[in-house]
Amino acid sequence: MSVTAAAFKPFTRQQMAQRAAADIPEGWYVNLGIGIPTLVADYVPMDREVIFHSENGVLGMGPAPEQDKIEPWLINAGKQYVTLRTGGSYCHHADSFAMIRGGHLDLCVLGAFQVADNGDIANWATSDNDSAPAVGGAMDLAAGARRLWVLMEHTAKDGTPKLVRRCTYPLTAPGAVKRIYTNLATIDVTERGFVVLDIVPGLSLADLQARTEAKLHLPG
């Protein structure tokens, strides 16, 4: 039976976050980047103890507060109001980044403009002449966390592939990405290149390859 590309339904942002959250085991210390990655926390149940870290010195970050329970001093790196879970703690910026740079985080999940099949990630500037480049903590996270996963749309809005042979945008870190969750598939970055773990129902490997610049492989 052949399935046409028209029959598939891409994951929503929430479904992408849910797919990634399913792979995070209890006990991991995790930093979630701004954008879709932030949604991952919504899909980790509170009884699976995963400790979320925010660059601005918050370890054990909880969900957004009710409107009438906002703590004006308690924000995350995306400058949104958050809560602190029981057992959470505060530290200063250098200690917070020591957690990142010292290899203490089990996982960081970032968004990206491009990921190459050698694990290179570009997620901070879209051209070498960006008027005011802004890197934030992305390079620290990409270089420092024990694992880097990327959560992003499979292609750019105009259909341009974001999973590429070599990044054309300025790099955030070379060879850092271990896994990519997109609205179409879950893909490991291995020594062979991109290895497809799963695809949304109704989309064939050939259809996925048509939306991917770099060569896709099957496991094994």
């Binding site: 925010s54 660059e55 601005n56 010195g57 918050v58 703590e71 004006p72 001093w73 308690l74 924000i75 995350n76 790196a77 400058k79 602190l84 505060y90 530290c91 200063h92 910026h93 250098a94 917070s96 980044f97 020591a98 990142i100 740079r101 070498d128 008027s131 005011a132 480049p133 802004a134 890197v135 934030g136 903590g137 992305a138 390079m139 620290d140 270089a143 420092g144 300025p170 790099l171 955030t172 870190a173 070379p174 060879g175």
Partner: protein, 227 residues
């Protein structure tokens, strides 16, 4: 008797020279020493190099200092904000120099300055534009780049509590860059929400010991503004 608590903004700001390197605490609006930045605007020092995580919002505080042409160079990790109009305008016109530094490297450069470490190797930025022109070295099979300490002539800090010895506590995520700014600066100026008697702050709760602090001004402004 040691008393680092001063009574006026003018006294707090006295002695800041043109050409100073000024380190700012704060992340977004939280823990940002807004009153001291206003004091610096009033004080008049110019040709400043300012290091802060962000490059100002709207036309107030750091953005106002830049708009007045008093900042020669900004060192930051994230110059974008909800309203970066002043920085963007000056940057596009070539009227302000920008040094982009990864956020963790920025914090570590301050801590290094405070700890007497002149430079350090880090993996952050290796293989990127950040590595251009920097010394690199392979240590234990991994490549690192050399980053230099960032010392402040002046540091502006916001604390939750302070005593007359300059011991400080912070509130929640208001801590952020403030402790490393305090330790990295020759002249550390603090605005504190609450002034406590000596001994009233539990020694186990002091985050910045007074040795890193020069002057404290009582500024009980309440909660930080929203975003």
């Amino acid at each position: 008797m040691i008393n680092k608590i001063v009574q006026t903004m003018a006294e707090t700001m006295s002695g800041i020279r043109d050409g100073s390197v000024v380190l700012l605490g704060g992340f977004g609006a939280v823990g940002q020493p807004n009153a001291l930045i206003e004091g610096l605007i009033e004080q008049g020092a110019k040709d400043l190099t300012v290091a802060a995580n962000n490059a100002g919002v709207g036309h107030v505080g750091l953005a106002r200092l830049m708009e007045l042409g008093r900042v020669r160079k900004i060192i930051c990790s994230f110059p974008r904000s909800s309203d970066p109009v002043v920085f963007e305008t000056l940057y596009r016109a070539g009227k302000i120099e920008l040094e982009i530094v990864p956020q963790g490297t920025l914090a570590e450069r301050m801590r290094a300055a405070g700890a007497g470490v002149p430079a350090f190797f880090t993996a952050t930025g290796v293989g990127t534009k950040m590595a251009l022109g920097k010394e690199s070295r392979d240590i234990g099979g991994r490549t690192y780049i050399l980053e230099h300490a960032l010392k402040g002539d002046v540091g502006l800090v916001e604390a939750w509590e302070a005593d007359r010895w300059g011991n400080l506590t912070y509130k929640q995520a208001g801590r952020n860059f403030n402790p490393v700014v305090a330790m990295a600066s020759d002249l550390t100026l603090v605005q504190a929400q609450h002034i406590r008697e000596l001994g009233e702050i539990d020694p186990d709760h002091i985050v910045t010991p007074g040795i890193f602090v020069n002057r404290v001004l009582h500024v009980p402004y309440g909660d930080p503004a929203g975003f």
